[in-house]
């Protein structure tokens, strides 16, 4: 820990750190911290490269990470939608500390809004449906949260679990919502066909351009999954930015304080109920968005896509990755969504292996794959203090 590293001139030390602007809520991934030592242009170039690489993944089809038994673009989209869900659930579970076992309910409401109003009962435009889906899920989050958030922690788990099941069963048993047959012809995002991008093909470690296998940018068709992935990835970046903004504000602090000690937070002037509701609504917002994207990629939804098991997988993604750390939950979502697709070779053993993996991860990485800043922050503080001391010495 950092004891004994006090700077000699505290006045100027603190003044300086104020001048450096908000460094509150240190929340950078391990990678970013290593990168942060580099000069700024290099850093931006690296980040830019990483972003480009992420977008190019479905075209690159890199042998080791690409899925041999199923379409890589489709897997990437699934992973992306899990990442989105995990980011949303992280606000509820990681920041505000509310165990929501019915998160799939929001996912379902988002998907059903798009499907019912876009195909089954009306043919509204996709551009209208997405905001509507998000609006409906946010409202449903508030409606669910308002009565139930007064219920104590563990009870919330079972109440939300019930909510998720009620949503699914209602869809399953209501003719107007398509019942078990589901809904076909869900509107896809409008296409803007600009240009074609070829995929790579690999033989060993060398790559070739495969001119017969092209993705049209930006054509949201039936078979080519890459554009959907790009769309989801873009949404993820937007949500990541928003998540960061909220996290570094009064709102993020209020969530965290509420999770740490609700009574103390309330007595320090935090309207905890309001903030819990806000967390619930924000989580619902993102869950609904993810569901809406899922439905418009899929073109077809039925109640089976929204099983209780999915809620549990979502929670597993957040906790395995490290609840409270956005990079952690992203990694968790990748683990939960990608590994089973990558290792289809296990066939019927997949779930057994997955269960055992959860067990092992929980027991040997209880703080998550990328723990929420706590442990890492101590290091960061050390470095900061050193920097401050140097600065103070020079002054």
């Amino acid at each position: 820990m950092t004891s004994g590293k006090a700077s000699p001139d505290t006045e100027s030390g603190s003044a300086r750190s104020m001048a450096w602007g908000p460094r509150l809520g240190w929340d950078r991934g391990a990678l970013a911290r290593r990168v942060s030592g580099l000069p700024k242009p290099v850093k931006w170039a690296l980040i830019g490269l990483l972003v480009v690489l992420l977008y190019a993944l479905p075209l690159l089809e890199i042998p080791i990470i690409s899925t041999p038994d199923t379409d890589f673009g489709a897997v990437l989209f699934t992973v992306a939608s899990y990442v989105l869900v995990a980011l949303g659930l992280n606000i509820v579970l990681g920041y505000a500390g509310l165990l929501d076992l019915g998160y799939v309910g929001f996912y379902a409401i988002g998907a059903y809004t798009v499907a019912v109003l876009g195909s089954l009962q009306a043919q509204w435009s996709w551009w209208l449906l997405i905001p509507l889906a998000v609006l409906f899920t946010t409202i449903s989050g508030v409606l669910l949260g308002a009565p139930t958030l007064r219920v104590r922690g563990d009870y919330l788990a079972i109440v939300t679990l019930g909510f998720g099941e009620i949503i699914r069963l209602t869809a399953l048993n209501t003719e107007w919502l398509g019942a078990a047959k589901g809904i076909t012809g869900v509107p896809r995002p409008p296409s803007v066909e600009l240009f074609e991008l070829p995929h790579l093909q690999w033989e060993g470690a060398t790559a070739f351009l495969d001119l017969d296998d092209k993705t049209t940018f930006l054509f949201f068709g039936v078979a080519d999954q890459a554009p959907y992935y790009w769309l989801a990835l873009t949404v993820i970046f937007v949500i990541l930015g928003a998540d960061r903004m909220l996290r570094l504000s009064r709102i993020g602090r209020a969530w965290e304080a509420t999770r740490e000690d609700e009574d103390a937070a309330e007595l320090m002037g935090v309207p905890t109920f309001k903030f819990k509701l806000l967390a619930f609504a924000s989580g619902a917002f993102i869950g609904g968005l993810s569901g809406a994207l899922f439905a418009s990629r899929q073109g077809f939804i039925n109640p089976e896509s929204f099983q209780l098991l999915l809620s549990i997988l979502f929670v597993a993604a957040v906790v395995v990755g490290g609840a409270g750390n956005r990079w952690g939950v992203i990694l968790g979502a990748i683990v939960v969504a990608y590994l089973p697709e990558r290792f289809r070779g296990f066939e019927e053993w997949r779930l057994l292996v997955f269960g055992a993996a959860l067990l092992v991860l929980a027991n040997f990485r209880p703080q998550g794959l990328i723990p929420p800043r706590r442990t890492r922050r101590a290091q960061a503080v050390d470095e900061q203090l050193e920097a401050l001391e140097e600065g103070a010495d020079r002054a």
Partner: protein, 329 residues
């Protein structure tokens, strides 16, 4: 509505039978929650293993229906013993593999939940793949009656034939109905007394109330935790046999839904409250039956969950409150 009234007795009795099973499984959730404040997600698998133990015993003994009464009772007791042993054993295994390390590390509750979810998946899949697993050891054919159609329903060869005993309100109450309800109540009373009077039971209450203080008073917390899992497992084993007597069939993934319902029952009654578990089970069983009768079976789970939400809103700690630690147990 008239349908509900006309068949009130039948719906009530069958609801109570279902509720008794929920209640016995709910005990496992409630005990572990009372002591550790953890949702033991894998408890449903404890029950499922017990149900298979009971099935296998009847397969091994191979008793035909309609045997003499002493034989029937003997086989049922044997099945009960097997189910309790296996369920208790799996519960202890679970404590060892999924919980002990995390409890020692004082890890967040959520992590223990994930650990239990992982254990639950693994246990269910092990049962669902048992034909493959015994295949590794070349025992596939030798064990065929036990591992056949591993991913399908497995029938319990019930040595006891269902017989009507007496008729009330147009419904003939069967021997199975009576056995299940009476056993559940008797076991609940026994458990209640166990927790109130025995040394271990008092230890469970002490740890539930204040685990640090209990440790200072010389209670071995780890031993008490193991005892809690064991007792919950034994109850689940009993529930497994009763379930089979009524519903006749088990399968590798049957635990999941039952577990969700039993956990709901535990919360309904007041989690951590032993009597509340049985009451919650009965209320849930009845609500499901009445609800189905009123608006159709497809809405029964919706009815069950709505009931839960409503009860929690008006009684935030369940019907009887949470009180494993308190003297009322």
């Amino acid at each position: 509505m008239s349908f509900l009234i006309n068949n009130f007795v039948e719906l009530t009795v069958t609801g109570l039978v279902l509720g008794a099973v929920y209640g016995l499984v709910a005990l496992g959730y409630t005990l572990v929650y009372g002591v550790l404040q953890l949702i033991n997600f894998a408890h449903s698998e404890v029950w499922m293993f017990g149900s298979f133990a009971a099935v296998w015993v009847t397969v091994a003994v191979g008793v035909a229906p309609g045997s003499a009464l002493p034989v029937v009772i003997g086989v049922l007791l044997l099945a009960l013993l097997a189910a309790m042993t296996v369920s208790g054993g799996v519960a202890l295994l679970l404590e060892r593999v999924a919980y002990r390390r995390l409890i020692r590390l004082d890890a967040p509750k959520l992590v223990a939940l994930i650990s239990a979810i992982g254990a639950s998946f693994a246990l269910a899949e092990i049962m669902g793949l048992r034909d493959r697993i015994v295949g590794w050891f070349g025992l596939r054919d030798d064990l065929d009656p036990y591992v056949r159609s591993a991913r399908d329903n497995t029938r319990f060869r019930n040595p006891l034939e269902t017989e009507g005993l007496f008729t009330v309100g147009g419904y003939t109450v069967t021997n199975v109905d009576v056995i299940i309800i009476v056993s559940a109540v008797v076991m609940m009373i026994a458990l209640d007394q166990f927790i109130r009077r025995t040394r271990t039971g008092k230890g469970i209450r002490a740890v539930a109330q204040d685990s640090e203080a209990a440790a200072l008073m010389g209670v071995n917390r780890n031993r008490i935790i193991r005892a809690t899992f064991l007792v919950g497992g034994i109850m689940a084993g009993a529930a497994a046999l009763l379930y089979l007597m009524r519903f006749g069939v088990t399968r590798w993934n049957a635990g999941f839904l039952l577990g969700v319902k039993a956990f709901t029952a535990a919360v309904l009654g007041g989690i951590g409250n032993v009597r509340g578990a049985l009451l919650g089970g009965f209320v849930l069983g009845l609500a499901e039956n009445y609800g189905s009768a009123l608006i159709g079976s497809e809405w029964r789970d919706v009815v069950a969950f709505l009931l839960l939400v409503v009860i929690l809103l008006f009684r935030p700690t369940g019907l009887l409150g949470e009180s494993l630690g308190r003297a009322r147990a």
